[in-house]
């Protein structure tokens, strides 16, 4: 069999495998984190692109590898191949380098474009989220990390605090994230949000929610022995609600948590404790 055929046959097999895998990635398999927010959309798209690239490259590498190992198997009594068998093939080398460079440059370009599209010149508000929520003030939700729970304040609605994360669709949401003790990280999986919670610091993140969904909240920073239990899943899961459901929930929350507001400190971007007090 000619060298060309040895290249073409596994190439065809790899191409078939790549097309099947890529179609599965693009249209069948769920790629996290989903489509609940504009940021989640972007993350999901990026994940799909990289999955398609890596699957295609992987299919080619594995197929050629398996094919050549299978074909190179010689009979026990056959003479050992000469060193010429391993000769340099300039065309293959150039093709390999060109393919690698193309893929890397494509990934770099994609990253630059995504970064440009995600942020305004001040790298504060994601441009897509800002555009989607244009014309309305963002809903401010303060996320307060403490060992080992996240709680939430709604300063535009009297400043009540709750252990339930609720936010509406169709509105720009601004998360102000801080901590009362050690460093935590507010990680809301379905929102594609991960913001460090540090005492004395107010970290800000924005999200524009497209669809109602549940929100699994976890701490993303090793914050002590019970870090693994700093989650809000199951019965304590967060929720994205429709605007009318959110209004109803606000009424419930204000009546439930409102009476405690007098006990809370005045709303502040940080609540830095004095470690020497204790």
């Amino acid at each position: 069999m000619s060298t060309k055929r040895h290249l073409i046959i596994p190439g065809i097999i790899a191409a078939i495998l790549a097309v099947i895998g890529d179609l599965l990635v693009a249209f069948v398999l769920h790629m996290p984190p989903g489509h609940a927010t504009t940021a989640a959309n972007d993350d999901t798209f990026t994940g799909q692109v990289f999955a398609i690239i890596s699957w295609s490259v992987g299919a080619a590498v594995v197929t050629y590898g398996v094919y050549f190992i299978a074909m190179a198997k010689r009979a026990p009594d056959a003479p050992a191949p000469s060193t010429g068998y391993l000769r340099v093939h300039l065309g293959l080398q150039i093709a390999w380098i060109a393919t690698s460079v193309t893929l890397v440059m494509f990934a770099a370009g994609l990253g630059v474009v995504a970064l440009e599209g995600q942020t305004n010149p001040h790298l504060v508000v994601p441009a897509k989220a800002l555009a989607a929520g244009a014309g309305r003030d963002p809903l401010i939700i303060q996320v307060i990390g403490q060992q080992w729970q996240f709680t939430y304040r709604y300063p535009q609605y009297g400043g009540f605090e709750t252990n339930q994360l609720r936010l509406p669709t169709g509105r720009l949401v601004q998360f102000d994230v801080t901590s009362l003790d050690v460093s935590h990280s507010f990680s809301a999986y379905q929102l594609a949000v991960k913001i460090d919670a540090i005492s004395g610091i107010n970290n800000v993140g924005y999200v524009y929610v497209l669809h109602p969904t549940v929100i699994d909240v976890r701490c993303g920073e090793l914050c002590g022995l019970w870090h693994g239990y700093m989650t809000q899943v199951g019965s304590q899961v967060g929720r994205v609600l429709t605007p009318s459901q959110f209004s109803s929930w606000l009424s419930y929350a204000e009546s439930t948590y409102g009476p405690e507001e007098s006990n809370l400190p005045k709303f502040s971007l940080t609540y830095y404790p004095n470690p020497l007090t204790y």
């Binding site: 003790d181 002590g224 239990y229 304590q236 006990n263």
Partner: protein
């Protein structure tokens, strides 16, 4: 490489593996905190209830850290130092806490609200309480995964006469009930930064099973 050398290397790796496994087993056996199962009752209607009697105490010279604050649980009339408790699934747990520790106050006043109990209420010396002055708790009994939070009012500094060993000691009696839900292992904790001598009051007993943290093993009947 000679056969003897190969044998030596393989034997060395095997010996290392055996030692590592033995250490793992020893640590596993050593870290096996005692699980207390409070008394459970099934009433005529088939509803299961558990009565759990707890005490929170300051330094009482108990365990490996005699100066640490801790929870105790009463078993067969005796106070036991254990914070791993087992209760039935889908049952109601009636809790009585004898609060012997002094008031510290909460870092986050939000935790002064009673949440997740039956009726959203606790009883402090028989008086129904839904919100507490955030300066009053000595500790909280909280299971974030259940949404349960109960601030435990401490005794005032001025009336603190000694320890639980003192029969004339004063304490605050707190009662509340909560539902366990399905079978699972829950983590419970205190939200008052009560670890004296530790940065932010959060180290030591606040992060150690047997003191201000523990597990609630909810098991199917």
């Amino acid at each position: 490489m000679s056969s003897a050398r190969k044998l030596t290397i393989v034997s060395g790796f095997l010996l290392f593996g055996v030692i590592a496994l033995a250490l793992y087993v020893i640590v596993w056996l050593a870290y096996n905190p005692e699980t207390i199962t409070p008394p459970t009752h099934v009433n005529a209607a088939g509803r299961t209830t558990t009565n759990m009697e707890l005490a929170t105490v300051g330094a009482i010279d108990m365990g490996t850290h005699p100066s640490w604050v801790a929870y105790l649980i009463r078993q067969d009339g005796k106070w036991v130092s254990s914070t791993v408790w087992q209760v039935p699934a889908h049952s109601v747990v009636h809790v009585t806490v004898l609060e012997y520790d002094t008031q510290t106050g909460l870092r986050n006043p939000f935790q002064s609200m009673v949440r997740g109990t039956v009726g959203g209420v606790e009883y402090v010396n028989g008086k129904a309480v839904r919100y507490m002055n955030p300066n009053l708790p000595a500790h909280t009994f909280s299971i974030p995964e259940l949404g349960l939070n109960v601030p435990l009012e401490g005794i005032s500094q001025s009336s603190y006469p000694g320890s639980i060993a003192n029969p004339h000691n004063t304490h605050v009696t707190i009662t509340f009930s909560f539902r366990t839900g399905g079978a699972q292992t829950l983590h419970w904790q205190c939200f008052v930064p009560c670890a004296a001598g530790y940065l932010f009051g959060q180290g030591g007993p606040m992060q150690t099973v047997g003191y201000m943290d523990g597990y609630l093993k909810v098991v199917s009947r």
